[in-house]
């Protein structure tokens, strides 16, 4: 187990490093931060000065070495756009995104599991059809549209919840719901199909013959057997969301998170901030994957954790 974790961390480090390298090179290729950052009317001298200040006039290799050296000690440098340490910005914004994504995916899982199970109990039955069609519809709604719709309903019409911003739990509900819906619908489909498979399995027949109560057969045995595929997809959704799909929701609900910051960094060509965000994202993907693997091991004793 320990060996497994160490091994995976190694792999993760390689993943993070390759992401960093690729991002570093690409960010130097795709745009000119000086052009974007400075006002249109800035003079040539101002541009040159700014470039020198960013160190962009030095050879790319040198820039890279400096960069890697700094990152190694967690010094991400100063944001070009906000003019303060990048780490500070990330520490400030990450919690909001983490809170949002985790509650959204948590919500999605919590809702998807019962819905999927109900659908799977009678495949192609009435309930199943309704659940499937509703989730398909949910899947095809543009997220910002849904977000605004929820605002209109819950904030404008009913006046129950605030429209936007962050703050108490009430601020979290709408963005989390909006973010949860697509994940929810995908999860419902997964829960449904794995549960159908599991309920057809021989051991379920055996459990029935043992006289084990139906809810236990479904809710404990079959569900636990479906847990790995379900959690795989849930983890995938979480990772996807973390690595950028929150942008829309964060924009719609003015949610001060990392996604919004990332897109603003891209708009402003703030390479330093962007690199740091990518770095953090890569690390969280690696950590999440690791956590999921450990979780799978806890769920499924067949999974070997050999340090292979």
């Amino acid at each position: 187990m320990g060996g497994f974790v160490v091994n995976r961390l190694w792999q993760g480090a390689i993943v993070v490093l390759s992401v960093v390298v690729v991002v570093f090179i690409l960010t130097r290729l795709i745009g000119d931060p000086v052009r974007v950052m400075l006002p249109l009317e800035a003079t040539v001298e101002q541009r040159a000065a700014f470039e020198a200040q960013l160190g962009l006039d030095r050879p790319i290799l040198e820039q890279f070495v400096t960069y890697v050296r700094d990152v190694a000690v967690l010094d991400f440098g100063e944001s070009l756009w906000q003019r303060r340490p990048v780490l500070e910005i990330i520490v400030e914004r990450a919690p909001a995104t983490i809170l949002l994504t985790f509650s959204a995916i948590g919500l999605a899982v919590l809702l998807a599991v019962p819905l999927g199970i109900v659908a799977a109990l009678r495949p192609e039955g009435l309930v199943d059809r309704v659940v499937v069609i509703i989730s398909l519809l949910g899947l095809s709604i543009p997220q910002f549209w849904l977000g605004l719709l929820l605002i209109v309903l819950f904030s404008l019409t009913l006046g129950w919840l605030p429209t936007s911003g962050s703050g108490g739990l009430d601020h979290l509900i709408l963005p989390a719901l909006t973010l949860a819906l697509p994940a929810l619908t995908r999860l419902v489909m997964v829960v449904r199909s794995t549960m159908i498979d599991e309920l057809n399995a021989q051991y379920v027949k055996v459990l029935r013959a043992k006289g084990i109560r139906p809810w236990r057969v479904v809710g404990v045995h079959a569900l636990r057997n479906s847990a790995v595929p379900i959690l795989t997809i849930a983890g995938w959704e979480l990772i996807r969301t973390l690595s950028g799909y929150t942008v829309v929701v964060e924009t719609v609900f003015a949610w001060p998170g990392l996604g919004l910051t990332a897109i603003q960094a891209i708009e402003r060509q703030d390479l330093i901030l962007l690199q740091a965000i990518v770095f953090v994202t890569a690390i969280s993907v690696v950590v999440l994957n690791l956590l999921l693997d450990v979780l799978f091991k806890a769920i499924d004793p067949r999974i070997e954790m050999n340090a292979k």
């Binding site: 052009r35 974007v36 756009w81 906000q82 914004r93 909001a96 001060p256």
Partner: protein, 469 residues
């Protein structure tokens, strides 16, 4: 009373000298004072300057300051503070994004307690106008490391808190020298999404929303609009392509129904640009030049004369940067197609777009580039230098005469002579149709029922001028 204002983007810093962003200005306008001010119509007036500045030699302006003003931390706002602020602005350490506004600053000295001399690198006729944008910071406090997070000024409001990503709170400074404003506390929130901004207002969460879309005017409790500094237009390449022919350029102007743009696309919240890159409030405005009429037949004729019927023209633009940028581009493209041109509309992501907008050495330019010019100094120089002088970063012509005129006007101290040069430039540019002139669009604010406030031509939101029921 407390009010809440929604602005589009969060300030990246609250240091009034560092960044060039609208969010920062929106907040700091209420915390800091400037030497000069403008009235709602845009006419220059005195701020903390006690009398009109005088140019004591071609490169020195003298400012006198009102006595007895102190910063919110007790520091005196005197000539030394002004001189300090100016030196701070041009300090390479600070590397201010605002330098392009103050590019002529060379230094400043406090002559006595209330007199300051501002040196300029060359003759600068519009220095007073620049001073309207220049905020005076307290010499002591501005050196603190957290000045950018918790600014201290001398204005009617003082900084309370900044919850990053969420809100900034200011409160009326009880020690303010002037009369106490009606609004005692103001909260700024930052929402980019237009639909969300609208809904905060509709939900009664906020009192003032900036940059309302014209389409939403009918839906908000109160709306206010005012001509803004934004001038959408299209740069035409006078050096190459079919647009090298002035007749084609004129035709491109004639082909567009600007009235329709203003009344339909902007729901009346825009004015037709009068054949020049300036609004009537600008210095250098030429009253004799008027808009190209909408005359597609004539446009076709001109195209035919120039042998450019069915000619190909590339129209470059970006999306999401300015109000209705994409729509305007598409409509312009549509009008041009309607007179028989083969229009290739290319909408790029901003950086890619800039790459095409910036004039490169080899001069390879797209035929037509959509741009929105915004000139806070209300003076022709900035816009003309950028888009009409061949050396300008966004210029699409190589006419030496333009360069000469614009350079001469920049340092011309005599206002009448300066005005005369600009009128020539305007006339020439209009004659040659160096641009496709489009509109001057309005700023629109959505307001709650209880708020009363008159918007200003420069778009500034001085909380002290607001009242709530």
């Amino acid at each position: 009373d407390d009010i809440t204002i929604v602005i589009g983007s969060e300030p990246t810093t609250l240091d009034p000298h560092a960044a060039d962003d609208g969010g920062e200005k929106a907040v700091n306008d209420n915390i800091f004072d400037t030497l000069m001010v403008r009235d709602t119509e845009g006419n220059l007036g005195l701020g903390i300057a006690s009398e009109w500045p005088t140019q004591i030699d071609p490169t020195t302006w003298e400012f006198k300051i009102e006595p007895g003003i102190t910063f919110q931390n007790g520091e005196p706002l005197n000539a030394a503070a002004v001189a300090f602020s100016i030196e701070r602005m041009i300090d390479p350490e600070l590397n201010s994004e605002q330098l392009s506004y103050f590019s002529t600053f060379a230094g400043a000295e406090a002559v006595d307690e209330l007199t300051v001399h501002v040196r300029t690198s060359g003759p600068d006729p519009i220095l007073p106008a620049r001073m309207y944008y220049f905020m005076i910071v307290p010499p002591e406090a501005s050196q603190a490391t957290d000045f950018a997070e918790a600014p201290i000024g001398s204005g009617p409001y003082r900084f309370v808190s900044w919850d990053r990503g969420n809100q900034i709170v200011l409160e009326a400074d009880p020690n303010y020298r002037g009369e106490a404003p009606d609004v005692s506390q103001v909260t700024y929130r930052f929402i980019e999404e237009p639909g969300t901004r609208l809904s905060t207002l509709l939900a009664g969460e906020v009192d003032l929303v900036t940059n309302l879309l014209p389409e939403f005017m009918g839906q908000v409790p109160q709306a206010a609009s005012m001509r803004s500094l934004e001038h959408p237009m299209v740069l035409l390449n006078a050096d190459g392509g079919i647009t090298a022919d002035a007749r084609v350029r004129r035709a491109l102007n004639l082909a567009i129904d600007k009235e329709a743009l203003a009344s339909a696309l902007f729901e009346g919240q825009a004015q037709v640009e009068q054949g020049q890159l300036l609004g009537p409030t600008y210095f250098g405005y030429n009253e004799d030049v008027t808009a190209f009429p909408y005359d597609p037949d004539r446009a076709r004729e001109l195209l035919a004369e120039a042998g450019a019927e069915g000619g190909q023209i590339t129209l470059v633009s970006t999306s999401g940067r300015w109000l209705k940028d994409r729509e305007l581009t598409e409509v312009v493209g549509g009008y041009w197609s309607a007179v028989g041109l083969d229009v290739d509309v290319q909408i790029y992501e901003f950086d890619e777009y800039l790459q095409r907008l910036f004039r490169s050495e080899d001069g390879q330019r797209s035929d037509a580039i959509f741009i929105v010019s915004g000139n806070e100094l209300l003076d022709a120089d900035r816009s003309f230098s950028a888009y009409l002088a061949p050396s300008g970063f966004g210029a699409s012509n190589s006419i030496p005469q333009m360069e000469e005129w614009i350079t001469a006007a920049r340092t011309e101290i005599d206002l009448d002579a300066r005005q005369a040069i600009y009128e020539e430039v305007v006339e020439y540019a209009h004659e040659e149709a160096l641009l496709t002139f489009l509109l001057n669009i309005n700023n629109i604010w959505g307001m709650s029922e209880r708020l009363s406030w008159d918007p200003r031509v420069d778009g500034k939101m001085f909380i002290s001028t607001m009242t709530v029921e």
